[in-house]
Symmetry: D3
Subunit: 245 residues, 6 copies
Amino acid sequence: MKIKLINPNTTWSMTKSIENCAKKYANEGTAVYAVSPDIGVNSIECYVDEYLAIPGVLQEIVKGEEEGADAFVIACFGDPGLEAAREITDKPVVGIAEAAMATAKMIAPYFSIVSVLDRSVKITEDLVKGYGAKDFCKSIRSTGLSVLDFGTNIEKGLEALKEQSMIAVKEDGAECILLGCAGFVDFVEDLKQSLGVPVLDGVMPAVKFAEALVNMNLKTSKINTWGFPEEKEYIGYDLPSPQNR
Amino acid sequence: MKIKLINPNTTWSMTKSIENCAKKYANEGTAVYAVSPDIGVNSIECYVDEYLAIPGVLQEIVKGEEEGADAFVIACFGDPGLEAAREITDKPVVGIAEAAMATAKMIAPYFSIVSVLDRSVKITEDLVKGYGAKDFCKSIRSTGLSVLDFGTNIEKGLEALKEQSMIAVKEDGAECILLGCAGFVDFVEDLKQSLGVPVLDGVMPAVKFAEALVNMNLKTSKINTWGFPEEKEYIGYDLPSPQNR
Amino acid sequence: MKIKLINPNTTWSMTKSIENCAKKYANEGTAVYAVSPDIGVNSIECYVDEYLAIPGVLQEIVKGEEEGADAFVIACFGDPGLEAAREITDKPVVGIAEAAMATAKMIAPYFSIVSVLDRSVKITEDLVKGYGAKDFCKSIRSTGLSVLDFGTNIEKGLEALKEQSMIAVKEDGAECILLGCAGFVDFVEDLKQSLGVPVLDGVMPAVKFAEALVNMNLKTSKINTWGFPEEKEYIGYDLPSPQNR
Amino acid sequence: MKIKLINPNTTWSMTKSIENCAKKYANEGTAVYAVSPDIGVNSIECYVDEYLAIPGVLQEIVKGEEEGADAFVIACFGDPGLEAAREITDKPVVGIAEAAMATAKMIAPYFSIVSVLDRSVKITEDLVKGYGAKDFCKSIRSTGLSVLDFGTNIEKGLEALKEQSMIAVKEDGAECILLGCAGFVDFVEDLKQSLGVPVLDGVMPAVKFAEALVNMNLKTSKINTWGFPEEKEYIGYDLPSPQNR
Amino acid sequence: MKIKLINPNTTWSMTKSIENCAKKYANEGTAVYAVSPDIGVNSIECYVDEYLAIPGVLQEIVKGEEEGADAFVIACFGDPGLEAAREITDKPVVGIAEAAMATAKMIAPYFSIVSVLDRSVKITEDLVKGYGAKDFCKSIRSTGLSVLDFGTNIEKGLEALKEQSMIAVKEDGAECILLGCAGFVDFVEDLKQSLGVPVLDGVMPAVKFAEALVNMNLKTSKINTWGFPEEKEYIGYDLPSPQNR
Amino acid sequence: MKIKLINPNTTWSMTKSIENCAKKYANEGTAVYAVSPDIGVNSIECYVDEYLAIPGVLQEIVKGEEEGADAFVIACFGDPGLEAAREITDKPVVGIAEAAMATAKMIAPYFSIVSVLDRSVKITEDLVKGYGAKDFCKSIRSTGLSVLDFGTNIEKGLEALKEQSMIAVKEDGAECILLGCAGFVDFVEDLKQSLGVPVLDGVMPAVKFAEALVNMNLKTSKINTWGFPEEKEYIGYDLPSPQNR
């Protein structure tokens, strides 16, 4: 089995640590690899970033089909373009936010999400609502640090995550912490230790769920909403129109 | 006052009829003009289409600032990229779906939306929920015709809209009909006549609301969520990075 | 075009400043005038007040029809009697709370409402829910001052509004402030200056929306819920029974 | 114990049958009596009717205090003015819709409401939502007959109620029927017989709950929202201003 | 009339005080008696406790039918097994949490619940949601004391309840306090005195509602969901299979 | 890895087919085995059945710990006792309804559930709400056949499932079908073939998720709600009190 992880931003150092995390948790027979798209933005923190990232994600899905991928993981906590990805392929596509929340609900009655900038909170909030997880999510907390800050100053990043997670547990009633950025995969163990509650990154469960979906021979339902796109012209993208695929 | 309407798809005949509708309802002192983006897709019916359209919409917003636009209208019933557009400029940006629903609520207790393909229903449904209009929306009905079908066979399109609207009024309890595609601007009068309830296209109220926002000197709140994007690299788009604007 | 604003309470000094605000924002061709009803209560702060005010509001709507009004604005943040007003006339009727919320949603992802007495909070909360704006409203804060306090001690009123608005922005996450009383029209500019986020009174957008509805030739849907009242006897009011109009 | 029932409309024949129903179910020691207000409307089917009825209801509450009433029942399925009534007295006030729904939830998982005109459905729907009963209410059905039709043609009324109730049970999944008009008290037994599910009028449980509240020495909380109204001027009503009571 | 109260835990001292409370508020003609089941757990604070208690509750319902009970009260604030109890008998069954919330809504716009351990909060929260009372419930506060702590140290228990109730009123906006444990019946009067808002235990209203339901000749709807259980084998319980009753 | 599946009813033929299904989908290194409890009921179709089944499920969890199970699956579509099971062990416990819904959301935007008796619909509905899946679930349909009917007449059962699933797809808008009973594991393939949309039994994904949770070293959060039960007496069950384990 081959699982392709797409880091929707163009920062390959992050792509690398996502791949490492995936490799650590994948089953023996599963080949995993992570890429960043050719077009897009180097970190995703607002709606503009999300929307500039998605066409590149879709291009990688299409390429992934040719590469023989059996399933895809979109490895950014906003799950950018998830529904579109499910239209453009019938292979399972899993978002890391979706996977993290589905997992959290099985090990704790309530979780909180600890994220990057304040402005990203609404994107996460909309996701939580969209996945029907509102009643399970006690709070969405931000560290005030940007995605790239976490790359350049790991110590500071970890400290900020610890602090906000602690407040989430002590004051907001969280019984599990979700890390709201794919760039946080390396912080899981440290945080788990100090918090006394389960700590979840989304990459890990997304890989496991992608494997599970392939194991179960499940494919995306093509009967209506997520059917393949209609024939039409795509202008300005390195993406074949549906009728040319 | 200058209002720029952006038809997110690349079908200029539709752009033209949107512009005509806008001109008809704009105040005397208001200059309105409509464009289609350089990149994107020729009709918008699924998530892939939406996401391929948005970067072009954002490019047009940025160009619009240089052109001296005082406000923007995104003229596709999915309001694609609306939140991102509000980040990238501080001028008011109005989506036609949002404007149509806000207006409908002032003239009827319940509305229904009549749209294109079955698969588009979920996009509309998500919008309705996102705008807090779920309790006002009795149904979202589709005609089974594509956006482009409506352009090529007007008779058939009108007939299908009439039929679905009638069912919405008679069976679903709609007391007002919203036309769920910017391509339907020319059908409003005909439908109104035959249905006996108000019929609303979104372009018309979006233009009026954009005017109103400019008249009230209101600008998008920049304090957090919809603040200008952070400095970063945009790759593969004809869009200046925030630090270069 | 002629727009009649009805201040549902009987305090004419407030009616006057509502009229002034309306005149400032109305289009050139629009005649606006504000009145208070003959029966009712001198300020509206609880359910009893609301219900004593509404029959007078309805009387003014009926008189307004004779006066040639093309649209109506109910200028009290509780939008008292809005649905009844929409039954008794087919001319557009806009409530200032409804207009303020619809506008706020177009310029900010979240707003807070700053209001008068603590006890009024629930009325406002019910409105917010009723308009589907719950997910957009971060908090409803009260100053603890009565409607009439604001008239007699402007300084103190402004201070209290500033304080609560500041908390709404800093602690509750509001990105826009709505002033929850028609008596606050004169505070908008001052507050905007000191808060750094958009500040909205409801009179201003209600007038603009009323104009817009008239421009679009829209009338209230009469097909069912908001149809004209059935024939029956009205006892004790200066209001013609439906069959006598 | 003395319970005053207020029929908010001015049709005394209905007031009489409400009183009869109340007498039948009241405990031995309980004196019950029903009245109609001096001002208002002869039947309540739309928002205008509701709002014209409420001031009269409030007058009857105030008079009721002088008459020594220990609790009040508002006997119209829209519970018009219920919150205001709870402000103006500290004696328990029970609405028949509220009482019917609270009771229904204890004897069936789902109910439907069968009501008068189509246009009244939204008022009922808003009530259901307001009482948190939305998930328990399978449907709100209307007979298309007016309140007064039921008085003039009992046979026809009963037939229409039977028909709609049957559909509610068979198609909508109702397991209990609520009669959505105080004028229906006399139909309960007949309907119960033919439907095979519990049938509830609201007068009966409202009287029992009013008794229960008095037995428990409970009074309306006066700490904030439903506190007595502030001192102010009431103009045009036979209702003493709060400071004169 | 005979009402059987079932204290789902096996602590008979609590059963006794529940019975005393019930006797105090029952009508003259009503015989009330309280029991604990033979199997179960001595206090109920988590899901395990709830589920171990329910079979014993059901056994007591069946025995109660033989004892001639006309109605049942389940006297634990989690209302454990309420829906099952309504299946196994057609006599009215009232839960104390349900009764408390229904009553609170009639005397205050908002309530808070003060309960035992932190871990019990979610059970209560789920109840509140399940009864459609979410919008009325300002907070669920826990004292951190166990059910049995309250029995052994009454002073400390009362102090803790007072403290949390005070916070609920002052900070959370509660206008009425519900005591979230049947073991709290004896604290009602003391708390009422010091808080200035209504304080409700659930036993008292549950008894009154049970009486009311019997007075109205209402029985549980047997048409579908709460119909008597199907014929089948019950293994390991002192409970006759449905076909043997 | 060792996964114990608990069929909460006492019908061992069903337990066997659950075990077979689990074996088919488990990873190579995973040992799976299924059991029925010693006490309980032979099929689960109403609340009484659920509650009689749960104590036996808890007993099997405790035994499973001794047997060295690494994770548990509760294999009845009502997920009976799931939260209690998560209290009594810290090993992952997965419910089949929960697993089925989490999986369905990843491969289709909307699903429907096809179940046994009409009366079971509400239990399923409550589950759907409880898991935050209400917006994804288009309908819950029942075949009118009992759990045991399906065992005795497979043909008829399959036919009924096909019919209801077809309606769910064609009329309700389902794009994926969930089989709402663990007894349906053997129907998946047949239904998939004839329906053209994904068909999911819950056993299969529950096993995969249990494996995934073990692979990720995740355990149930013990910090509060789902902490181990407090010390207390358990009477009448073959279950050690917490202090004796």
